[in-house]
């Protein structure tokens, strides 16, 4: 408890806290405010700086570069969180579709000997537009839009009409 110098207190006296104690409180408060201010400002500051990967990435991806795929060949690429299949058919045109088989979700592949899309798990077959033509698959593969821009081949989900 705070006391005056001669050990007595008078009613109505506003007792000043001892100097060290007041300093301690001020230092504590000051440090606390500063610390919390930094703890708030630092994340906000980092937040404001744009990250390196500025594109959202999953609606439209670069599946391959021009010249990467030979005629009559295919390539698996990552599309969002699922695999996609990019095919360059014999005429040079590009086709893209989901690579997840609609039967039991195995990853399909392009068969250049059959010129069709094939699923190794149970011999399911799809044509070059993704339509299921033989074997167990019950539904076609979702087809994607392909756009060649300069050296890059972009694959994009079909826009909702």
């Amino acid at each position: 408890m705070a006391t005056s110098n001669d050990g007595t207190t008078n009613p109505g006296d506003r007792l000043p806290s001892p100097m060290p104690r007041r300093r301690l409180v001020e230092v504590l408060l000051g440090t606390g405010f500063l610390a919390t201010a930094v703890a708030f400002v630092y994340p906000v500051f980092r937040f404001l700086i744009p990250p390196k990967a500025s594109d959202l990435g999953s609606d439209s991806v670069v599946a391959a570069r021009v010249g990467e795929l030979k005629l009559n060949s295919g390539k698996i690429f990552r599309f969002g969180s699922r695999p996609g299949l990019l095919i360059r058919i014999a005429s040079g045109e590009y086709r893209a579709m989901s690579a997840t088989c609609t039967h039991l979700s195995c990853t399909v592949q392009y068969r250049d000997d059959l010129r069709q899309v094939w699923c190794a798990c149970h011999n399911g077959m799809y044509d070059l537009s993704g339509r299921n033509i033989s074997g167990p698959p019950p539904r076609p593969l979702e087809s994607f839009e392909v756009q060649v821009r300069g050296e890059e081949i972009f694959v994009r989900r079909r826009r909702e009409t």
């Binding site: 994340p43 906000v44 937040f47 404001l48 990250p51 959202l56 609606d59 989900r157 826009r159 909702e160």
Partner: protein, 361 residues
């Protein structure tokens, strides 16, 4: 001279600053057993400010639009530095704010702080509560995930059931017949422009009224203090109560940070309008009591469709809630007790239905 003094004088000479804040210096807060409830309004305001700040930060990266919204939120959560923190704080603070808004409303109700001359404060407050729920409803859709999509579908569907005006209102809300990208854009506009504008106006009004009329005291205590002014205990708002409120705000900040770090808000699955609704779609918890009530009403009550009756009933209750203080002025004490009874029932019913709705299949 100390620089602060110079700046202060400079402002005062041009704005009349001293005269403006003089009432604040004199403002007092009554001290009694139930004084802690007075914090709730301030905490709600604090959380609102947090929402505005985090919301502004999120807007720098969020893209409204059916084919980009989900991805942009995913981007914020995974690519942007501390994006997960800002977004999670925004989502948690939203829920906390709605909770404190309801708690503030109920505390005002039970402490009877809505009585004359504070009727307008109550009215602006209830409108703010509706706005806050509108914030919740519109904001929930913005990440464009499955749960949000279908919750919005169901919610706007229910609005469409209101006779005569329901359908046009539903089309206005949805930006079309169905919930689509147009709905998203519209809700975004409501959430970041319309509602904040209205809310800011009403908050200013609400605060102004609180300043002008002062902090209310429960009726019994008021009578005691009127009879015996010496018994009155008060605390200066500035700096004493303000400092205590600051403590409460820091606690709220700590809670928010912990929630955001330990339970980050999830992304969900991107909405696909062609997929059938998952079973057991429910709205967010603050709508559960209404949702569950509507589910329990039988399909037909006399000749009226049960759901329509429920919606109209809630609409009527909302209106009566808004006008509550006007039922009590200059009424005998029996009416006042009756209103307290209604308040207790409302709280119990709301809580029970929310819990029921949460656990129901």
């Amino acid at each position: 001279m100390i620089p602060q003094r110079t700046m202060y004088n400079w402002l005062d000479e041009r704005l009349g600053w001293d005269a403006l804040i003089a009432p604040l210096r004199k403002k007092t807060v009554p001290l009694h057993r139930l004084s802690y409830w007075y914090f709730l309004g301030g905490i709600t305001l604090f959380l609102f400010v947090i929402q505005v700040l985090t919301g502004i930060l999120l807007i720098l990266y969020y893209r409204p639009g059916a084919n980009e919204a989900f991805e942009s939120v995913q981007y914020i959560m995974t690519q942007v530095q501390f994006g997960w923190l800002i977004r999670s704080i925004h989502s948690w603070s939203a829920n906390l704010m709605i909770f404190t808004a309801f708690a503030h409303m109920f505390s005002v109700l039970f402490l009877k702080a809505y009585r004359k001359p504070r009727e307008l404060t109550w009215v602006t407050g209830v409108i703010l509560l509706f706005l806050v729920m509108g914030f919740g409803f519109s904001g929930y859709l913005l990440p464009w995930n499955t749960l949000a999509f279908f919750a919005t579908k169901v919610g706007t569907e229910i609005t469409g059931q209101v006779p005569v005006i329901g359908k046009p209102v539903m089309i206005f809300l949805r930006g079309g017949e169905e919930v689509s990208g147009a709905t998203l854009t519209r809700f975004f506009g409501f959430h970041v422009a319309v509602l904040p504008g209205l809310a800011t106006l009403l908050i200013l009004l609400h605060l102004l009224l609180v300043q002008r009329v002062g902090i209310s005291v429960p009726p019994k205590l008021e009578m005691e203090w009127d009879a015996n002014p010496a018994a009155k205990r008060e605390m200066k708002f500035f700096p004493n109560f303000m400092l205590r409120e600051l403590m409460a705000w820091y606690v709220a900040l700590g809670v928010l940070g912990a929630l955001a770090a330990v339970f980050p808000w999830n992304l969900g699955v991107k909405a696909d309008p062609f997929v059938p609704a998952p079973a057991g779609i429910k709205p967010e918890w603050y709508f559960l009591f209404m949702f569950q009530t509507l589910k329990l009403i039988p399909p037909k009550v006399w000749l009226i469709d049960g759901e329509v009756l429920g919606i109209l009933a809630f609409g009527l209750i909302g209106l009566l809630w808004l006008l509550l203080p006007f039922f009590e002025s200059d009424q005998p004490s029996s009416t006042k007790r009756w209103i307290t009874g209604v308040a207790v029932f409302a709280l119990a019913y709301g809580a029970a239905m929310s819990v029921y709705g949460y656990f129901a299949q």
